[in-house]
Protein backbone atom coordinates (compact mmCIF):
# COMPACT_ATOMS: atom_id res chain seq x y z
CA UNK A 1 0.00 0.00 0.00
CA UNK A 2 2.89 2.39 0.74
CA UNK A 3 4.13 1.73 -2.78
CA UNK A 4 0.70 2.53 -4.16
CA UNK A 5 0.46 5.67 -2.06
CA UNK A 6 3.95 6.76 -3.05
CA UNK A 7 3.18 6.19 -6.71
CA UNK A 8 -0.04 8.20 -6.53
CA UNK A 9 1.60 10.92 -4.49
CA UNK A 10 4.28 11.25 -7.12
CA UNK A 11 1.62 11.98 -9.73
CA UNK A 12 -0.32 14.47 -7.62
CA UNK A 13 1.71 17.21 -9.20
CA UNK A 14 2.54 15.80 -12.63
CA UNK A 15 4.22 18.93 -13.90
CA UNK A 16 6.63 19.13 -11.01
CA UNK A 17 7.26 15.39 -11.19
CA UNK A 18 8.02 15.50 -14.90
CA UNK A 19 10.28 18.51 -14.48
CA UNK A 20 12.20 16.79 -11.72
CA UNK A 21 12.56 13.59 -13.71
CA UNK A 22 13.74 15.62 -16.68
CA UNK A 23 16.25 17.49 -14.53
CA UNK A 24 17.71 14.23 -13.28
CA UNK A 25 17.67 12.75 -16.78
CA UNK A 26 19.27 15.86 -18.24
CA UNK A 27 22.08 15.80 -15.70
CA UNK A 28 22.78 12.16 -16.52
CA UNK A 29 22.67 12.86 -20.23
CA UNK A 30 25.06 15.80 -20.01
CA UNK A 31 27.44 13.87 -17.78
CA UNK A 32 27.49 10.87 -20.07
CA UNK A 33 27.92 12.95 -23.18
CA UNK A 34 30.56 15.30 -21.81
CA UNK A 35 32.61 12.53 -20.24
CA UNK A 36 32.48 10.57 -23.46
CA UNK A 37 33.53 13.62 -25.47
CA UNK A 38 36.40 14.21 -23.08
CA UNK A 39 37.57 10.63 -23.29
CA UNK A 40 37.18 10.76 -27.07
CA UNK A 41 39.16 14.00 -27.28
CA UNK A 42 41.94 12.64 -25.12
CA UNK A 43 42.13 9.65 -27.36
CA UNK A 44 42.53 11.93 -30.36
CA UNK A 45 45.17 14.01 -28.59
CA UNK A 46 47.05 10.98 -27.43
CA UNK A 47 46.83 9.36 -30.82
CA UNK A 48 48.10 12.51 -32.52
CA UNK A 49 51.08 12.71 -30.21
CA UNK A 50 51.64 9.00 -30.44
CA UNK A 51 51.42 9.03 -34.22
CA UNK A 52 53.74 11.92 -34.93
CA UNK A 53 56.22 11.39 -32.19
CA UNK A 54 56.42 8.77 -29.54
CA UNK A 55 54.51 5.72 -30.63
CA UNK A 56 52.69 3.85 -27.88
CA UNK A 57 55.77 2.28 -26.40
CA UNK A 58 59.49 2.76 -26.82
CA UNK A 59 62.37 0.58 -25.83
CA UNK A 60 65.33 2.81 -25.03
CA UNK A 61 68.45 2.92 -22.95
CA UNK A 62 67.61 3.92 -19.43
CA UNK A 63 67.66 7.71 -19.08
CA UNK A 64 67.60 8.41 -22.82
CA UNK A 65 64.13 9.98 -22.62
CA UNK A 66 65.45 12.61 -20.17
CA UNK A 67 68.76 13.34 -21.89
CA UNK A 68 69.28 12.52 -25.56
CA UNK A 69 72.92 11.46 -25.35
CA UNK A 70 74.02 9.93 -28.62
CA UNK A 71 75.94 7.18 -26.81
CA UNK A 72 72.88 5.84 -25.01
CA UNK A 73 71.95 3.32 -27.65
CA UNK A 74 70.02 0.14 -28.10
CA UNK A 75 72.86 -1.84 -29.63
CA UNK A 76 70.93 -4.89 -30.82
CA UNK A 77 67.53 -3.63 -31.99
CA UNK A 78 66.91 -6.62 -34.25
CA UNK A 79 66.57 -8.97 -31.27
CA UNK A 80 63.88 -6.70 -29.83
CA UNK A 81 62.16 -6.58 -33.21
CA UNK A 82 62.00 -10.36 -33.12
CA UNK A 83 60.27 -10.30 -29.75
CA UNK A 84 57.86 -7.67 -31.01
CA UNK A 85 56.93 -9.72 -34.04
CA UNK A 86 55.53 -12.31 -31.67
CA UNK A 87 53.85 -10.00 -29.17
CA UNK A 88 50.06 -9.83 -29.51
CA UNK A 89 48.38 -6.44 -30.01
CA UNK A 90 51.52 -4.95 -31.58
CA UNK A 91 50.56 -3.45 -34.93
CA UNK A 92 53.92 -2.06 -36.05
CA UNK A 93 57.40 -1.21 -34.89
CA UNK A 94 60.39 0.64 -36.23
CA UNK A 95 63.81 1.94 -35.23
CA UNK A 96 64.87 5.53 -34.84
CA UNK A 97 68.12 7.26 -34.06
CA UNK A 98 68.50 10.89 -33.09
CA UNK A 99 71.28 13.40 -33.00
CA UNK A 100 71.47 17.12 -32.53
CA UNK A 101 73.25 18.89 -35.35
CA UNK A 102 73.99 22.25 -36.81
CA UNK A 103 72.08 22.69 -40.05
CA UNK A 104 73.22 25.13 -42.68
CA UNK A 105 71.68 26.22 -45.92
CA UNK A 106 73.22 28.69 -48.34
CA UNK A 107 71.77 31.54 -46.35
CA UNK A 108 71.23 30.47 -42.76
CA UNK A 109 72.43 28.18 -40.01
CA UNK A 110 70.43 26.81 -37.10
CA UNK A 111 70.29 23.86 -34.71
CA UNK A 112 68.09 20.90 -35.38
CA UNK A 113 67.31 17.36 -34.37
CA UNK A 114 68.19 14.81 -37.01
CA UNK A 115 66.24 11.60 -36.82
CA UNK A 116 67.19 8.53 -38.75
CA UNK A 117 64.09 6.60 -39.76
CA UNK A 118 63.29 3.47 -41.71
CA UNK A 119 61.18 5.02 -44.52
CA UNK A 120 59.03 1.97 -45.12
CA UNK A 121 58.33 0.99 -41.54
CA UNK A 122 58.10 4.58 -40.33
CA UNK A 123 55.20 5.22 -42.67
CA UNK A 124 53.20 2.50 -40.89
CA UNK A 125 53.69 4.19 -37.54
CA UNK A 126 54.07 7.90 -38.00
CA UNK A 127 51.60 10.12 -39.76
CA UNK A 128 54.35 12.54 -40.79
CA UNK A 129 53.95 10.82 -44.13
CA UNK A 130 50.44 12.19 -44.36
CA UNK A 131 51.36 15.74 -43.38
CA UNK A 132 53.77 16.40 -46.23
CA UNK A 133 53.20 19.94 -47.44
CA UNK A 134 55.63 19.85 -50.33
CA UNK A 135 57.59 17.16 -52.08
CA UNK A 136 57.49 13.58 -50.87
CA UNK A 137 58.40 11.45 -47.88
CA UNK A 138 61.60 9.34 -47.79
CA UNK A 139 61.89 6.23 -49.90
CA UNK A 140 63.84 3.06 -49.00
CA UNK A 141 66.22 3.77 -51.87
CA UNK A 142 67.09 7.25 -50.58
CA UNK A 143 70.52 7.88 -49.10
CA UNK A 144 71.48 11.45 -48.32
CA UNK A 145 67.93 12.65 -48.67
CA UNK A 146 65.96 14.51 -45.98
CA UNK A 147 62.49 15.71 -45.14
CA UNK A 148 62.16 18.57 -42.69
CA UNK A 149 59.60 20.51 -40.70
CA UNK A 150 57.95 23.49 -42.34
CA UNK A 151 59.16 25.99 -39.75
CA UNK A 152 62.69 24.69 -39.96
CA UNK A 153 62.55 24.96 -43.75
CA UNK A 154 61.31 28.52 -43.40
CA UNK A 155 64.11 29.40 -40.98
CA UNK A 156 66.72 27.92 -43.25
CA UNK A 157 65.04 29.44 -46.30
CA UNK A 158 65.23 26.14 -48.16
CA UNK A 159 62.79 24.48 -50.46
CA UNK A 160 62.37 21.06 -52.04
CA UNK A 161 65.50 20.30 -54.10
CA UNK A 162 67.81 22.55 -52.05
CA UNK A 163 70.77 21.24 -50.06
CA UNK A 164 71.38 21.37 -46.33
CA UNK A 165 74.69 20.67 -44.62
CA UNK A 166 74.48 18.88 -41.29
CA UNK A 167 77.34 19.03 -38.81
CA UNK A 168 77.33 17.12 -35.53
CA UNK A 169 79.31 14.79 -33.39
CA UNK A 170 79.29 11.08 -34.05
CA UNK A 171 78.97 8.33 -31.47
CA UNK A 172 82.71 7.96 -31.10
CA UNK A 173 83.09 11.70 -30.55
CA UNK A 174 84.43 12.43 -34.00
CA UNK A 175 82.90 14.99 -36.29
CA UNK A 176 79.96 13.81 -38.33
CA UNK A 177 79.07 15.74 -41.42
CA UNK A 178 76.85 15.17 -44.41
CA UNK A 179 75.15 17.02 -47.21
CA UNK A 180 71.43 16.37 -47.43
CA UNK A 181 69.07 16.97 -50.30
CA UNK A 182 65.59 18.20 -49.30
CA UNK A 183 62.95 15.85 -50.71
CA UNK A 184 59.96 17.10 -48.81
CA UNK A 185 58.59 19.47 -46.17
CA UNK A 186 56.10 18.35 -43.53
CA UNK A 187 53.89 20.17 -41.09
CA UNK A 188 52.95 18.00 -38.14
CA UNK A 189 51.06 20.80 -36.40
CA UNK A 190 53.25 20.64 -33.34
CA UNK A 191 55.25 23.81 -33.74
CA UNK A 192 58.29 22.98 -31.68
CA UNK A 193 58.64 19.74 -33.58
CA UNK A 194 58.25 21.43 -36.96
CA UNK A 195 60.81 24.01 -35.92
CA UNK A 196 63.62 21.54 -35.33
CA UNK A 197 62.92 18.17 -36.92
CA UNK A 198 64.69 16.75 -39.91
CA UNK A 199 64.42 13.13 -40.92
CA UNK A 200 66.85 11.08 -42.99
CA UNK A 201 67.03 7.36 -43.83
CA UNK A 202 68.34 5.32 -40.89
CA UNK A 203 71.17 3.55 -42.79
CA UNK A 204 72.59 6.91 -43.85
CA UNK A 205 72.26 8.18 -40.27
CA UNK A 206 74.08 5.14 -38.89
CA UNK A 207 76.83 5.64 -41.42
CA UNK A 208 77.28 9.37 -40.78
CA UNK A 209 77.17 9.11 -36.99
CA UNK A 210 79.21 5.88 -36.73
CA UNK A 211 76.32 4.06 -35.08
CA UNK A 212 76.95 0.68 -36.72
CA UNK A 213 73.70 -1.24 -36.14
CA UNK A 214 72.70 0.60 -33.02
CA UNK A 215 69.64 2.81 -32.73
CA UNK A 216 68.23 5.02 -29.97
CA UNK A 217 64.58 4.07 -29.95
CA UNK A 218 62.57 1.01 -30.82
CA UNK A 219 59.12 2.48 -31.44
CA UNK A 220 56.03 0.31 -31.06
CA UNK A 221 52.37 0.93 -31.80
CA UNK A 222 49.49 -1.19 -30.52
CA UNK A 223 46.04 -1.84 -31.87
CA UNK A 224 44.42 0.19 -29.10
CA UNK A 225 45.35 2.52 -26.28
CA UNK A 226 43.72 0.15 -23.85
CA UNK A 227 46.21 -2.61 -24.68
CA UNK A 228 49.32 -0.52 -24.20
CA UNK A 229 49.97 -1.49 -20.61
CA UNK A 230 49.52 -5.16 -21.38
CA UNK A 231 51.97 -5.04 -24.27
CA UNK A 232 54.39 -3.02 -22.17
CA UNK A 233 54.33 -5.60 -19.41
CA UNK A 234 54.92 -8.55 -21.67
CA UNK A 235 57.66 -6.68 -23.49
CA UNK A 236 59.39 -5.70 -20.27
CA UNK A 237 59.15 -9.30 -19.11
CA UNK A 238 60.72 -10.49 -22.35
CA UNK A 239 63.56 -7.97 -22.06
CA UNK A 240 64.53 -8.42 -18.47
CA UNK A 241 64.83 -12.12 -17.73
CA UNK A 242 67.89 -11.94 -19.93
CA UNK A 243 70.84 -12.00 -17.54
CA UNK A 244 72.80 -8.78 -17.82
CA UNK A 245 75.52 -9.17 -20.39
CA UNK A 246 78.96 -10.05 -19.09
CA UNK A 247 81.57 -7.27 -18.92
CA UNK A 248 82.99 -8.59 -22.19
CA UNK A 249 79.85 -7.44 -23.98
CA UNK A 250 80.72 -3.88 -22.98
CA UNK A 251 77.52 -1.85 -23.12
CA UNK A 252 75.42 -4.52 -24.74
CA UNK A 253 71.68 -4.51 -24.08
CA UNK A 254 72.24 -3.57 -20.52
CA UNK A 255 69.84 -1.13 -18.89
CA UNK A 256 67.15 -1.09 -21.51
CA UNK A 257 63.79 0.21 -20.41
CA UNK A 258 60.35 0.03 -21.82
CA UNK A 259 58.38 3.28 -21.58
CA UNK A 260 54.79 3.98 -22.58
CA UNK A 261 53.54 7.16 -24.27
CA UNK A 262 52.46 8.77 -21.02
CA UNK A 263 55.94 8.35 -19.55
CA UNK A 264 57.51 9.65 -22.75
CA UNK A 265 55.35 12.78 -22.87
CA UNK A 266 54.46 13.69 -19.29
CA UNK A 267 53.20 17.06 -20.49
CA UNK A 268 50.35 15.43 -22.36
CA UNK A 269 49.09 13.63 -19.29
CA UNK A 270 49.36 16.85 -17.34
CA UNK A 271 47.23 18.78 -19.78
CA UNK A 272 44.67 15.96 -19.81
CA UNK A 273 44.53 16.05 -16.04
CA UNK A 274 44.06 19.80 -16.11
CA UNK A 275 41.24 19.51 -18.62
CA UNK A 276 39.65 16.79 -16.53
CA UNK A 277 39.93 19.02 -13.49
CA UNK A 278 38.18 21.85 -15.30
CA UNK A 279 35.46 19.39 -16.29
CA UNK A 280 35.05 18.32 -12.70
CA UNK A 281 34.19 21.86 -11.65
CA UNK A 282 31.53 22.02 -14.32
CA UNK A 283 30.13 18.65 -13.25
CA UNK A 284 30.09 19.73 -9.63
CA UNK A 285 28.05 22.82 -10.53
CA UNK A 286 25.67 20.71 -12.56
CA UNK A 287 25.22 18.26 -9.71
CA UNK A 288 24.61 21.01 -7.18
CA UNK A 289 21.92 22.44 -9.46
CA UNK A 290 20.25 19.07 -9.79
CA UNK A 291 20.49 18.55 -6.06
CA UNK A 292 18.70 21.84 -5.43
CA UNK A 293 15.96 21.07 -7.91
CA UNK A 294 15.33 17.72 -6.28
CA UNK A 295 15.61 19.15 -2.81
CA UNK A 296 12.97 21.69 -3.77
CA UNK A 297 10.64 18.98 -5.02
CA UNK A 298 11.01 16.83 -1.96
CA UNK A 299 10.85 19.60 0.59
CA UNK A 300 7.74 20.95 -1.12
CA UNK A 301 6.21 17.49 -1.21
CA UNK A 302 6.59 17.23 2.56
CA UNK A 303 5.73 20.82 3.31
CA UNK A 304 2.46 21.02 1.41
CA UNK A 305 1.35 17.70 2.86
CA UNK A 306 2.21 18.37 6.48
CA UNK A 307 -1.44 18.16 7.59
CA UNK A 308 -1.89 14.92 5.76
CA UNK A 309 1.25 13.48 7.31
CA UNK A 310 -0.08 14.66 10.67
CA UNK A 311 -3.31 12.76 10.05
CA UNK A 312 -1.35 9.63 9.22
CA UNK A 313 0.59 10.02 12.46
CA UNK A 314 -2.65 10.63 14.38
CA UNK A 315 -4.31 7.46 13.13
CA UNK A 316 -1.29 5.51 14.26
CA UNK A 317 1.21 5.40 11.42
CA UNK A 318 4.72 5.38 12.86
CA UNK A 319 7.28 7.88 11.56
CA UNK A 320 9.09 4.96 9.91
CA UNK A 321 6.11 4.38 7.66
CA UNK A 322 6.09 7.99 6.55
CA UNK A 323 9.83 7.98 5.88
CA UNK A 324 9.45 4.80 3.89
CA UNK A 325 6.70 6.35 1.80
CA UNK A 326 8.75 9.48 1.13
CA UNK A 327 11.85 7.47 0.28
CA UNK A 328 9.78 5.42 -2.16
CA UNK A 329 8.48 8.60 -3.74
CA UNK A 330 11.98 9.93 -4.30
CA UNK A 331 13.15 6.53 -5.51
CA UNK A 332 10.49 6.62 -8.23
CA UNK A 333 11.66 10.00 -9.43
CA UNK A 334 15.34 9.13 -9.23
CA UNK A 335 15.10 5.78 -10.97
CA UNK A 336 12.88 7.13 -13.72
CA UNK A 337 15.17 10.09 -14.23
CA UNK A 338 18.33 8.04 -14.25
CA UNK A 339 16.96 5.36 -16.54
CA UNK A 340 15.72 7.98 -18.96
CA UNK A 341 19.01 9.86 -18.71
CA UNK A 342 21.16 6.82 -19.34
CA UNK A 343 19.07 5.79 -22.32
CA UNK A 344 19.01 9.26 -23.86
CA UNK A 345 22.67 9.87 -23.03
CA UNK A 346 23.80 6.61 -24.57
CA UNK A 347 21.70 7.11 -27.69
CA UNK A 348 22.99 10.66 -28.17
CA UNK A 349 26.58 9.73 -27.48
CA UNK A 350 26.38 6.66 -29.64
CA UNK A 351 24.93 8.73 -32.46
CA UNK A 352 27.76 11.22 -32.33
CA UNK A 353 30.27 8.46 -31.92
CA UNK A 354 29.18 7.38 -35.37
CA UNK A 355 28.76 10.71 -37.09
CA UNK A 356 31.46 12.58 -35.16
CA UNK A 357 31.25 16.16 -33.98
CA UNK A 358 32.69 18.49 -36.64
CA UNK A 359 35.13 21.05 -35.32
CA UNK A 360 33.80 23.69 -37.65
CA UNK A 361 36.16 25.85 -39.70
CA UNK A 362 39.28 24.39 -38.18
CA UNK A 363 38.56 21.09 -39.87
CA UNK A 364 40.75 21.54 -42.94
CA UNK A 365 43.67 22.81 -40.96
CA UNK A 366 43.44 20.03 -38.42
CA UNK A 367 43.33 17.42 -41.11
CA UNK A 368 46.60 18.70 -42.44
CA UNK A 369 48.10 18.30 -39.01
CA UNK A 370 46.96 14.72 -38.88
CA UNK A 371 44.28 15.41 -36.31
CA UNK A 372 40.89 14.32 -37.61
CA UNK A 373 38.44 17.16 -38.08
CA UNK A 374 35.83 15.25 -36.14
CA UNK A 375 35.77 14.54 -32.48
CA UNK A 376 34.13 11.27 -31.70
CA UNK A 377 32.83 10.81 -28.19
CA UNK A 378 33.78 7.44 -26.84
CA UNK A 379 31.04 5.64 -24.96
CA UNK A 380 32.45 3.19 -22.47
CA UNK A 381 30.91 1.50 -19.48
CA UNK A 382 32.75 3.98 -17.29
CA UNK A 383 31.59 7.10 -19.12
CA UNK A 384 28.03 5.77 -19.34
CA UNK A 385 27.67 4.86 -15.69
CA UNK A 386 29.93 7.03 -13.57
CA UNK A 387 27.88 10.19 -14.15
CA UNK A 388 24.50 8.59 -13.39
CA UNK A 389 26.02 6.88 -10.36
CA UNK A 390 27.03 10.29 -9.02
CA UNK A 391 23.57 11.65 -9.73
CA UNK A 392 22.05 8.68 -7.92
CA UNK A 393 24.17 9.26 -4.84
CA UNK A 394 23.42 12.97 -4.78
CA UNK A 395 19.66 12.58 -5.26
CA UNK A 396 19.45 9.84 -2.67
CA UNK A 397 21.28 11.96 -0.13
CA UNK A 398 19.11 14.95 -0.96
CA UNK A 399 15.90 12.96 -0.69
CA UNK A 400 16.94 11.55 2.64
CA UNK A 401 16.80 14.96 4.25
CA UNK A 402 13.01 15.46 4.16
CA UNK A 403 12.46 11.77 4.82
CA UNK A 404 14.43 12.09 8.04
CA UNK A 405 12.96 15.46 8.89
CA UNK A 406 9.50 13.96 8.92
CA UNK A 407 10.55 11.83 11.86
CA UNK A 408 10.57 14.88 14.07
CA UNK A 409 7.02 15.79 13.15
CA UNK A 410 4.47 15.51 15.97
CA UNK A 411 0.86 14.88 15.00
CA UNK A 412 -0.54 17.94 16.79
CA UNK A 413 1.92 20.36 15.24
CA UNK A 414 1.58 18.76 11.84
CA UNK A 415 -2.19 19.02 11.84
CA UNK A 416 -2.14 22.62 12.98
CA UNK A 417 -0.05 23.48 9.94
CA UNK A 418 -1.86 25.12 7.08
Amino acid sequence: MEILMAWRNVWRNPRRTILTILAIAFACLVLIFMLSVQVGTYEVMINASVKTRTGHIQVIKKGYNKDHKIRQVVSDPESIAKILDQTPHVTAHTFRANAFALLSSDLRTCAGLITGVDPERESKISNIVHTMRKGRFLKPSDTNTAVLGALLAKNLKVNVGDEVVALGSAMDGSVAATVLKVAGIFSSGMDDYDRSAIQIPLPHFQEVFYMENAVHEVVVTCDSLWHVSRVKESLAAALHPKPPAEPTGQDADQGLVCLSWDELTPGLIQSIQMDLGGGLIFYAILLVMVAFSIMNTFVMAVFERTRELGTLLAIGAGPGRLSKMLVLESAFLTLWGITLGILAGCVLTFWFQHTGIPLGGAEGMLKQYGIPGLIRPRLTLATALSGPALVFIITTLTALYPALKVRRLTPVDAMRAV
Partner: protein, 227 residues
Protein backbone atom coordinates in the same frame (compact mmCIF):
# COMPACT_ATOMS: atom_id res chain seq x y z
CA UNK B 1 -16.03 0.40 34.23
CA UNK B 2 -14.47 3.59 32.90
CA UNK B 3 -13.17 3.91 29.40
CA UNK B 4 -11.48 7.20 30.07
CA UNK B 5 -10.24 8.68 33.34
CA UNK B 6 -8.85 12.19 33.34
CA UNK B 7 -7.29 13.16 36.66
CA UNK B 8 -6.35 16.74 37.51
CA UNK B 9 -5.02 17.35 34.03
CA UNK B 10 -3.61 20.72 33.08
CA UNK B 11 -2.00 21.80 29.86
CA UNK B 12 0.03 24.95 29.56
CA UNK B 13 1.25 26.24 26.22
CA UNK B 14 4.21 28.54 26.30
CA UNK B 15 4.05 31.21 23.65
CA UNK B 16 7.23 33.12 23.96
CA UNK B 17 7.10 34.43 27.53
CA UNK B 18 3.33 34.18 27.87
CA UNK B 19 1.95 30.95 29.31
CA UNK B 20 -1.50 29.95 28.06
CA UNK B 21 -3.39 27.68 30.43
CA UNK B 22 -5.48 25.74 27.96
CA UNK B 23 -6.56 23.28 30.66
CA UNK B 24 -6.36 24.11 34.35
CA UNK B 25 -6.95 20.89 36.26
CA UNK B 26 -9.71 18.95 34.58
CA UNK B 27 -11.04 15.70 36.04
CA UNK B 28 -13.66 13.54 34.45
CA UNK B 29 -14.57 9.95 33.73
CA UNK B 30 -16.31 8.50 30.75
CA UNK B 31 -17.84 5.07 30.84
CA UNK B 32 -17.85 2.47 28.10
CA UNK B 33 -20.51 3.03 25.49
CA UNK B 34 -21.13 6.68 26.29
CA UNK B 35 -22.10 9.18 23.62
CA UNK B 36 -20.71 12.29 25.09
CA UNK B 37 -20.34 15.91 23.97
CA UNK B 38 -17.67 18.41 25.00
CA UNK B 39 -19.16 21.88 24.75
CA UNK B 40 -17.86 25.31 25.51
CA UNK B 41 -16.87 28.54 23.90
CA UNK B 42 -13.98 28.88 21.53
CA UNK B 43 -10.66 28.63 23.32
CA UNK B 44 -12.13 26.77 26.29
CA UNK B 45 -9.84 23.80 25.76
CA UNK B 46 -12.01 21.24 23.95
CA UNK B 47 -9.49 20.36 21.27
CA UNK B 48 -6.69 20.32 23.81
CA UNK B 49 -8.56 17.84 25.99
CA UNK B 50 -9.41 15.56 23.08
CA UNK B 51 -5.80 15.57 21.91
CA UNK B 52 -4.63 14.62 25.39
CA UNK B 53 -7.14 11.79 25.71
CA UNK B 54 -6.13 10.57 22.26
CA UNK B 55 -2.44 10.54 23.11
CA UNK B 56 -1.64 13.09 20.41
CA UNK B 57 -0.22 15.41 23.03
CA UNK B 58 1.01 15.06 26.59
CA UNK B 59 -0.41 16.93 29.61
CA UNK B 60 1.70 19.35 31.59
CA UNK B 61 0.28 17.90 34.78
CA UNK B 62 -2.11 15.15 35.79
CA UNK B 63 -2.80 11.66 34.57
CA UNK B 64 -4.92 10.10 31.88
CA UNK B 65 -6.10 6.49 31.86
CA UNK B 66 -7.46 4.82 28.80
CA UNK B 67 -9.20 1.50 29.34
CA UNK B 68 -7.58 1.55 32.81
CA UNK B 69 -4.06 1.87 31.40
CA UNK B 70 -2.16 5.04 32.09
CA UNK B 71 -1.08 6.72 28.85
CA UNK B 72 0.71 9.69 30.36
CA UNK B 73 4.47 9.40 30.10
CA UNK B 74 4.51 6.81 27.34
CA UNK B 75 7.00 7.04 24.50
CA UNK B 76 5.94 8.36 21.08
CA UNK B 77 6.02 4.92 19.53
CA UNK B 78 3.92 3.36 22.34
CA UNK B 79 1.45 6.20 21.91
CA UNK B 80 1.36 5.62 18.16
CA UNK B 81 0.48 1.99 18.70
CA UNK B 82 -2.23 2.90 21.25
CA UNK B 83 -3.68 5.40 18.75
CA UNK B 84 -3.64 2.75 16.08
CA UNK B 85 -5.30 0.02 18.12
CA UNK B 86 -7.50 1.73 20.70
CA UNK B 87 -8.54 5.09 19.33
CA UNK B 88 -10.40 6.31 16.28
CA UNK B 89 -10.10 9.93 15.24
CA UNK B 90 -12.50 12.12 13.33
CA UNK B 91 -11.41 15.68 12.65
CA UNK B 92 -13.21 18.83 11.73
CA UNK B 93 -11.71 19.06 8.27
CA UNK B 94 -12.28 15.61 6.88
CA UNK B 95 -8.73 14.38 7.21
CA UNK B 96 -8.77 11.41 4.92
CA UNK B 97 -5.90 10.56 2.64
CA UNK B 98 -6.56 12.15 -0.75
CA UNK B 99 -4.64 9.63 -2.84
CA UNK B 100 -6.55 6.66 -1.46
CA UNK B 101 -10.10 5.65 -2.33
CA UNK B 102 -12.74 5.39 0.39
CA UNK B 103 -12.11 1.67 0.75
CA UNK B 104 -8.32 2.07 0.73
CA UNK B 105 -8.57 4.74 3.42
CA UNK B 106 -10.51 2.35 5.63
CA UNK B 107 -8.24 -0.58 4.80
CA UNK B 108 -5.05 1.33 5.50
CA UNK B 109 -5.70 1.35 9.26
CA UNK B 110 -6.25 -2.40 9.25
CA UNK B 111 -3.15 -2.87 7.12
CA UNK B 112 -1.08 -1.12 9.74
CA UNK B 113 -2.69 -3.37 12.36
CA UNK B 114 -1.66 -6.41 10.38
CA UNK B 115 -5.14 -7.63 9.46
CA UNK B 116 -4.93 -10.13 6.57
CA UNK B 117 -5.93 -8.83 3.15
CA UNK B 118 -9.17 -10.73 2.70
CA UNK B 119 -10.52 -9.83 6.08
CA UNK B 120 -9.49 -6.24 5.46
CA UNK B 121 -11.47 -5.89 2.32
CA UNK B 122 -14.54 -7.64 3.77
CA UNK B 123 -14.59 -5.48 6.87
CA UNK B 124 -13.98 -2.32 4.85
CA UNK B 125 -16.90 -3.09 2.55
CA UNK B 126 -19.18 -3.87 5.45
CA UNK B 127 -18.38 -0.75 7.42
CA UNK B 128 -18.64 1.54 4.37
CA UNK B 129 -22.06 0.13 3.59
CA UNK B 130 -22.93 0.62 7.23
CA UNK B 131 -22.07 4.33 7.23
CA UNK B 132 -24.19 4.81 4.14
CA UNK B 133 -21.56 4.80 1.38
CA UNK B 134 -22.75 1.76 -0.55
CA UNK B 135 -21.67 2.09 -4.17
CA UNK B 136 -19.02 4.73 -3.44
CA UNK B 137 -16.27 2.50 -2.11
CA UNK B 138 -13.87 3.19 -4.93
CA UNK B 139 -14.26 6.94 -5.09
CA UNK B 140 -11.40 9.18 -4.14
CA UNK B 141 -12.04 11.92 -1.54
CA UNK B 142 -12.13 14.52 -4.30
CA UNK B 143 -15.14 12.71 -5.76
CA UNK B 144 -17.04 12.72 -2.46
CA UNK B 145 -19.00 15.50 -0.76
CA UNK B 146 -17.92 16.83 2.63
CA UNK B 147 -20.56 14.80 4.40
CA UNK B 148 -19.53 11.66 2.52
CA UNK B 149 -15.88 12.28 3.31
CA UNK B 150 -16.75 12.62 6.98
CA UNK B 151 -18.58 9.30 6.73
CA UNK B 152 -15.40 7.75 5.39
CA UNK B 153 -13.60 9.23 8.40
CA UNK B 154 -16.18 7.66 10.72
CA UNK B 155 -15.82 4.32 8.94
CA UNK B 156 -12.04 4.55 9.25
CA UNK B 157 -12.35 5.41 12.94
CA UNK B 158 -14.67 2.55 13.89
CA UNK B 159 -13.49 -0.20 11.56
CA UNK B 160 -10.84 -1.44 13.96
CA UNK B 161 -13.28 -1.63 16.89
CA UNK B 162 -11.45 0.96 18.97
CA UNK B 163 -12.04 1.50 22.65
CA UNK B 164 -13.05 5.05 21.94
CA UNK B 165 -13.72 7.40 19.04
CA UNK B 166 -12.70 11.02 19.44
CA UNK B 167 -14.32 13.55 17.13
CA UNK B 168 -13.29 17.20 17.18
CA UNK B 169 -16.17 19.25 15.81
CA UNK B 170 -17.08 16.62 13.23
CA UNK B 171 -20.01 18.60 11.87
CA UNK B 172 -18.54 22.09 11.90
CA UNK B 173 -17.90 22.11 8.16
CA UNK B 174 -21.22 20.53 7.22
CA UNK B 175 -24.63 22.07 6.68
CA UNK B 176 -27.09 21.27 9.44
CA UNK B 177 -28.97 18.62 7.52
CA UNK B 178 -25.83 16.73 6.53
CA UNK B 179 -24.49 17.18 10.04
CA UNK B 180 -27.64 15.73 11.46
CA UNK B 181 -27.41 12.74 9.14
CA UNK B 182 -23.84 12.14 10.22
CA UNK B 183 -24.74 12.38 13.90
CA UNK B 184 -27.65 9.99 13.50
CA UNK B 185 -25.27 7.56 11.88
CA UNK B 186 -22.72 8.00 14.66
CA UNK B 187 -25.44 7.51 17.27
CA UNK B 188 -26.48 4.32 15.52
CA UNK B 189 -22.88 3.06 15.53
CA UNK B 190 -22.73 3.90 19.22
CA UNK B 191 -25.79 1.80 19.88
CA UNK B 192 -25.21 -1.08 17.49
CA UNK B 193 -21.49 -1.50 18.00
CA UNK B 194 -21.28 -0.10 21.52
CA UNK B 195 -18.45 2.21 20.53
CA UNK B 196 -17.66 5.00 22.98
CA UNK B 197 -17.86 8.44 21.35
CA UNK B 198 -16.56 11.77 22.63
CA UNK B 199 -17.08 14.72 20.38
CA UNK B 200 -16.62 18.42 20.79
CA UNK B 201 -19.01 20.98 19.40
CA UNK B 202 -20.40 24.52 19.57
CA UNK B 203 -23.62 23.43 18.01
CA UNK B 204 -26.81 23.18 20.05
CA UNK B 205 -28.30 20.67 17.63
CA UNK B 206 -25.27 18.42 18.02
CA UNK B 207 -25.48 18.63 21.79
CA UNK B 208 -29.06 17.45 21.65
CA UNK B 209 -27.84 14.11 20.34
CA UNK B 210 -25.48 13.57 23.25
CA UNK B 211 -26.41 11.53 26.28
CA UNK B 212 -24.09 13.62 28.35
CA UNK B 213 -22.79 17.13 27.87
CA UNK B 214 -19.62 18.34 29.52
CA UNK B 215 -19.22 22.10 29.36
CA UNK B 216 -15.75 23.55 29.52
CA UNK B 217 -14.90 27.14 30.32
CA UNK B 218 -11.43 28.61 30.60
CA UNK B 219 -9.84 25.21 30.84
CA UNK B 220 -12.13 23.89 33.57
CA UNK B 221 -15.27 21.76 33.65
CA UNK B 222 -17.99 24.34 34.22
CA UNK B 223 -21.10 22.23 34.05
CA UNK B 224 -22.20 18.68 33.43
CA UNK B 225 -25.52 17.49 32.20
CA UNK B 226 -26.67 13.90 31.86
CA UNK B 227 -29.80 13.06 29.98
Amino acid sequence: MNMVDVKEVSKTYKQGKVAVHALAGVSLSIAKGEFCALAGPSGSGKTTLLNLIGGLDTPTQGKIFLDNDEITGLSQSRLASIRLNKIGFIFQSYNIIPVLSARENVEYVMLMQGVPARERSERARAVLDDVGLAGMHDRRPAELSGGQQQRVAVARAIVSNPAIVLADEPTANLDSQTGQGLLEMMARMNEERNVTFIFSTHDRMVMDFAHRIIRLKDGLVAHEQIK
